[in-house]
Symmetry: C2
Subunit: 629 residues, 2 copies
Amino acid sequence: MADHTDPKQQCSVHPDTLAMVQRARQEGIETVWDRAQAQEPQCGFCSLGLSCRNCVMGPCRLDPFGEGPQQGICGADADIIVARNLARMIAAGAASHSDHGRDLVETLLAVAEGLAPGYQLTDLAKLDRIAAEFGIAADLPPQAKAKELALAMMAEFGIHKGHLTFAKRLPAARLDLWQKLNIAPRGIDREVVETMHRTHMGVDNDAVNILLHALRTALSDGWGGSMIATEVSDILFGTPQPVASQVNLGVLKKDQVNIVLHGHNPLVSEMIYRASHDPALIDRAKALGAGGINLVGLCCTGNEVLMRKGIPMAGNHLLQELVILTGAAEAMVVDYQCIMPSVGQVAACYHTHLITTSPKAKFPLAQHHEFTPENALEKGREVVRLAVENFARRRPERVFIPVEPVQQVSGFSVEAILGALGGTPTPLLDAIKAGQIRGAVGVVGCNNPKICQDLGHTTITRTLIASDILVLDTGCTAVANAKAGFKDLSGAALAGPGLQAICEALKIPPVLHMGSCVDNTRIIALAAALANALGVDVDKLPIAAAAPEWYSEKAAAIAAYAVASGIYTVLGVTPPVLGSKTVTDLLLTGLEGVVGAKFAVEPDPEKAAALLIRQVESKRRGLGLDSRL
Amino acid sequence: MADHTDPKQQCSVHPDTLAMVQRARQEGIETVWDRAQAQEPQCGFCSLGLSCRNCVMGPCRLDPFGEGPQQGICGADADIIVARNLARMIAAGAASHSDHGRDLVETLLAVAEGLAPGYQLTDLAKLDRIAAEFGIAADLPPQAKAKELALAMMAEFGIHKGHLTFAKRLPAARLDLWQKLNIAPRGIDREVVETMHRTHMGVDNDAVNILLHALRTALSDGWGGSMIATEVSDILFGTPQPVASQVNLGVLKKDQVNIVLHGHNPLVSEMIYRASHDPALIDRAKALGAGGINLVGLCCTGNEVLMRKGIPMAGNHLLQELVILTGAAEAMVVDYQCIMPSVGQVAACYHTHLITTSPKAKFPLAQHHEFTPENALEKGREVVRLAVENFARRRPERVFIPVEPVQQVSGFSVEAILGALGGTPTPLLDAIKAGQIRGAVGVVGCNNPKICQDLGHTTITRTLIASDILVLDTGCTAVANAKAGFKDLSGAALAGPGLQAICEALKIPPVLHMGSCVDNTRIIALAAALANALGVDVDKLPIAAAAPEWYSEKAAAIAAYAVASGIYTVLGVTPPVLGSKTVTDLLLTGLEGVVGAKFAVEPDPEKAAALLIRQVESKRRGLGLDSRL
């Protein structure tokens, strides 16, 4: 990491990050940027996708310059090795989201069976709608309906079902295309397992065949595991509605017990939320000299409680070490995914308790408090109590909160967006047809220390809204954009005149926060609703997606299900595929003729924004609408 | 590969392999040994398990010498990275076996529904026994019973079931131990998916926790997917009974249409078998100048048709390229797993058709004839017809079959073994108690070009039987041992006096072939039966396992389920774990205190045999039996 004045050469565009990285250096505490620098130069074979360790005849690696071996010991060439590696990456991402969905479905069943005292059916109207999609009798009472729904969803993880119920939200043309290509997802777990099978030595050795199945695996995530996660979370914890909140490290409070909620699944954080309102615990905090108990979010668990409860957001992926460096965090409570194993080490330099909660995710230097549907309410209290007592150990002289928080409005579920539009997508489509809004782009994904933090997210978003393109964001992008001020209602001033007028009329920001990374399913569900309302397939819509700073296997799965659903997707970080011309050409070109959409890779966010604008305008032209091309 | 007179320096102990490798050099055709040599030196980071590419912040690699980075960019240390890599290896193996089992269950359902004209319920007595294990009503007619059974087995792939039915074959003490450790497998697919989730960045970062779940994943294979594969194969195609046959490249016939059956799943090969008896096709072969149609097996598809039909076996893993070099193979018909993508290239140098049959497994330079339960009978005829017509293209002057075949007896299912003993394990236990047979060892697994082909298998087996230890073999080991003559009835002369007497009395060889690699479940099922009969847990038995030449992720899964089932297992090839002392110590030592068994790694087969003998004698002492320790 170089500290030049060019923002691309800094580690972040945001002052809180920059201040805390400087503090980390002063304190001699290692962060992700230090470790990234220590890994340079990264292995070229692995970066190009040309190394294979799928068996112990290997490891093998192919020479990208054509001078050394061009085949592994089994005879696999670059196309096969690269395709297998990419497929496993997508499978791991799909597995992660889907296993998250499974935990929610199991909790839904426990609630229905009266075994989960901390949880309840919160959005009964949504329960009705989702149960109807699964063909469950409308007249069942809520508990019985929830049980039937949980069992029906569980069946979609197995092999007995034909096709995934939520895929029926799509236009028939898309489903027919998947059938024709043999990529319509079957059971959710099955596709992941079949990917692992196909990529075993001596199974699938045709790059195109491997990649088509990888798309099927990704679709089983997007229209299966992830979508189940989103919808069940709404049933259990409420469907998000617009809510005002704040963002950046300034949401930590000097005078309060601060608890950082980190990870991805709301099952634990909702229980912490409940416990944080326990009068006895608040009284105890006050007795210890704190003004109260302050929850702050991080990463996608943060997005979950921000969307539904308005809990302020401390930061995204690259903030997870830095938030501890404020010296003001009494506890970091984590569930799973994207939690750097380094956080325990950083926490050990402060008074912060690192508290792990899932049997699937233990961490070095952490205290483990295992949550189950049955014990979660009590465990929530136990963990909050620990944090409160820990306030006494805080060293005020080490507290450093470098910024004041920024205002934001969050909570834009599909239901909330349609609600703002009067209940149907027609006003949005009318605005698109009239050219006031040119189209919509989902800007999503992670942070990656290879990229100046949030430069990709904010540059692309700023350019798109200035071009009258509505931005829908999730995950780390949502935090970046909120910190940049795009999600305050005043952000409308940054939009082009058409989008600005709409925002002001509807009292919404030009960037709508749709949730966590599993909630990218809200974006594809909205796209499906728009396509149905227009009577076209998804790939005909003036929409696109971007993942400017992605780092995770989950992001690879999301990008793959977006493209297989017909949505052009621009990546800001090159996936490890350049070792195969066949795979690279398929992703960047060939897929267009197969699924009507393709990937682009463009690290420069201004150029990426230009690609996205061109895509929106090109699709407008395809629909016979006015186009700025 | 060096060609010294020391057999350890040659590429194989068997003359057919040696002759064909020489021929490959004369013909200028590249083989696996050439490619293995070209990969030297193999990457040290990958070999030690110290490279990570589970996200695109990386790739990362840790310095094994302690001078460079000791953590990846996320903060993962050597323990975490090595454990994650090993867990994914085991998950891929479990996925492969289980997906194979899924294909059989889907065919069973199709048969039950009358949709699979080529297939039938062959072993109705076994259908009854297995259905009873699943709690299915005894009085159902066969088709209805098969349907219920297929649906019940499918449910075990999903998340709805509590625990796997076949695990109940084990002593209660073992099941209790798994419960206590939280490693009792739940759904089959679920455990694989959870492994992929846990090994995503930021999920499980505790090496022991990761490895315990990897054991659970392996158990979902051994007592789930693989065992379902074995049992359903028996129902559909018959439970193996002792059958005489032949082995080595000499089983190819100069004057016949030779069809090589390669891969793992009997679904295709059974249809080829049926078609090869079609009088019209035999007549056509004769009209073209052939004496008839000669099927030969390779790898585990070969083991499947050898066990049930007595089809002779051409060779194991490292023979798959060499069998084509005989110039006498009209077709190689493959299903999936362990099929080197190089075989198409070798086939292209001859008249051989490479025919692929599974939608999951396409290959370069192959003809694709896709088999389904519905079309398999007709597809079988189509493929045999292709092979027969191809006889006209054979060039007799290129035919080179270097050896005469060796005799063998195969077909030792658990039912066959118990049948030979009069229906109960008591006579075997009596012989063990009396010390005539000291114990039993499963010698299993693959070939690996890092090791002189079959030296590990045959050296260990020869030493064990000479020490009065009964050897049970499967997979590539079974071929190696048959070629060495251990499986002819005359092989009894190589056994120690106790074992020899038993073999002569029962008219069995001292090495019992129990099937393909999924059929390692026959070995663990037999172990469970012996443990139940003795009233002890499996880890108390005088048994052990060895995989002297393993190469595949499937083998890693098998070894892991063996150990988690209580069976000490000696590996001849070092798994990629040496980069972590924690993981290495756990596998080689720590697991003993957890599951009552552990791994050993011993590349020298004589030393490996000594370890196995010591284990058997030590367990004898534990049972209060006479011991040679």
